[in-house]
Symmetry: C2
Subunit: 357 residues, 2 copies
């Protein structure tokens, strides 16, 4: 099975082999060292400012999105949410659930966020901004530098959910001025799902320190306090954290974050070139590197997903909700190569020959 | 490394091998089938009444404890919490955080819950009861049938956290009348940590249905709705769920839940017999099968943990907080044998010969 979804993605043999080892007991100095090393790598790769910290949460990235919304905002805030797809909309829902005053800046699927649209909200008393840097449902990449400038001008607490953008698109937490960065184990980190990661700038740390949030599992103050000694408040997904450690070192050996971003950009470019002659429209005005969102003009998107899975042993990533029939996605993250792209495109060409697309 | 902690525990080779396979994409009918099969096995093994359901949460068991407290109780409740150690106390903390009126029935470490102590709270307007069936910090097993009778008499919503008791001690959800059962992937299920499981009786389901809880990640109504088709609202720890599936089938092949309970009881009995002549006191008045809590009378408990780890390549389970120096624990769950018990006890005897204990 060849996996082009956007998570879980293919893992390297090295990472998979760790999955077959016994999972160690974790309240030990040995495991603490691994956790502290993981934190240092994540801070380095997110280009976080001096004094930043990171924690590792055992939950999906939605759990971390919720933890951040709960710990960093309250009923006295006024938050601008970039709502361009399923994941942006999830932030809107989280604000609604937690009674945080918010406005959704709605974008049609596939549309990029322009300076004009953003500055409609300039000087209007907002206190924070939430954005999924790669709106993974449509593969739209937002401009973190432009948004950062807006946040700086308006003095907004700036949350970048980089779940599928981290290590796939250039991101400089320090330069763009983000206060929080979120990612997950099953995207470019190419480990099994189960861990998500939150990075805090010094301003992010200060915000969490002041919070009186009513939660045990998502109490980020406790998570930070435990991470100081390389631990977690509760039993974490220990095995995945060890795989993440190996993967972070693998990225380092292969040239670090910029090389990894370049590799994935190359994987995306190669795929997009190969499908030029197929009856597909690219959905995103501002394509992210991690994933290509494709609108097939001659077939139902979900049918293509099923055909590829059942007849070619290839997974692409279906969309949900009202995008189910119009869009499917092809990921460029994980242990896949240009040769794998060829295998997928050959299958698509075969579907075309068979009159299915 | 030989692991006698209470989680993560040793996994069988079969389960570990799955850890080296690629983690599949999960929004598929194939994965749904696995999830539905997992649910059926869990309902069977917890001896849940007809009409019960189960969900699989990607979080530690504390996450599920919090989800249950949030979804099943509110400020109009009055909850009795059996507080005999660290985990009982966690339920007390959860009630405090979520503004749920509660009384802690405090027991000294190692003490069992007697009928007399329990019935001090009879007829006092309680609406619910929270108990960690095996208070894992001290290895005290509570009597779920006796508590169930009390809950029935007082019409209490009855929550059994069976994290380390499930599949280790006899538990019959139907007969004891529990409304909720909680467990985790890294205890007798002997898979890596990252998944916890909640079982709901029909009354438990009804309670969740009526809840207006303010949470996305811990919204059990959504989890139940998704599990109907074998799915989860957010990306779960897919790899661990597949390992759980294999493990549940493994237990079935080996004779089912009663055989597994018997196997672990045998493992505990064998260990306790072997240490009879060592300078140890057993802490628990009502020993659980999953773990033995040991008070060394001639040495510091935490030092024994460190010596065994660093000089014998054996992990036992240290205690935390005020039990750190007085108690260590030895687990009887996971892929360990009587022969492994011998190896551990030989190491302890060697420590004794060396004058360390």
């Amino acid at each position: 099975m060849l996996n082009f979804t956007v998570g879980p993605v293919m893992s390297s043999e090295r990472i998979r082999n760790i999955g077959s080892e016994q999972v160690p007991y974790f309240r030990t100095s040995e495991f603490s060292e691994i956790m502290l090393e993981n934190e240092q790598f994540i801070l380095k790769y997110s280009k976080a400012p001096l004094g930043s910290k990171a924690v590792f949460m055992t939950c999906s990235s939605t759990g971390s999105m919720e933890a951040v919304v709960m710990n960093c905002f309250c009923e006295h805030d006024k938050v601008l949410v970039i709502d361009g797809g399923s994941f942006g909309h999830r932030f809107v829902e989280l604000c609604r659930i937690h009674n945080i005053p918010h406005i959704a800046l709605k974008l049609d699927h596939g549309k990029k966020l322009t300076r004009e649209r953003l500055y409609e909200y300039d000087g209007q008393g907002f206190t924070g901004l939430l954005v999924n840097v790669d709106e993974t449902s449509t593969a739209v990449l937002y401009d973190t530098m432009m948004i950062g400038e807006f946040c700086k001008k308006n003095n907004l607490f700036y949350v970048c959910d980089c779940v599928s953008a981290f290590l796939a698109d250039p991101f400089n937490m320090d330069e763009c001025g983000a206060d929080i960065m979120i990612t997950g184990s099953q995207k470019v980190l190419a480990c099994p799902p189960g861990i998500s990661i939150i990075v805090f700038s010094p301003k992010g740390l200060e915000k969490v320190e002041q919070s009186n949030v009513k939660t045990m599992y998502f109490d980020l103050k406790e998570a930070l306090k435990n991470q100081e000694r390389g631990q977690t408040p509760f039993t974490p997904a220990v095995g995945i954290l060890i795989q993440i450690n190996e993967r972070l070192k693998e990225i380092e050996k292969q040239g670090g974050v910029d090389s990894e971003v370049e590799r994935i950009a190359g994987q995306a470019k190669d795929f997009r070139k190969r499908i030029e002659k197929l009856p597909f429209e690219l959905v995103s005005e501002s394509p992210a590197n991690a994933v290509t969102s494709v609108h097939p003009t001659t077939a139902i998107a979900y049918d293509i997903f099923l055909k590829l899975k059942d007849e070619y042993d290839i997974w692409v990533c279906p969309n949900g909700g009202d995008m189910k029939n119009s869009i499917f996605r092809v990921g460029h993250i994980g242990a896949i190569t240009h040769e794998d792209n060829k295998t997928l495109v050959d299958a698509l060409i075969d579907l075309q020959k068979r009159g299915i697309i």
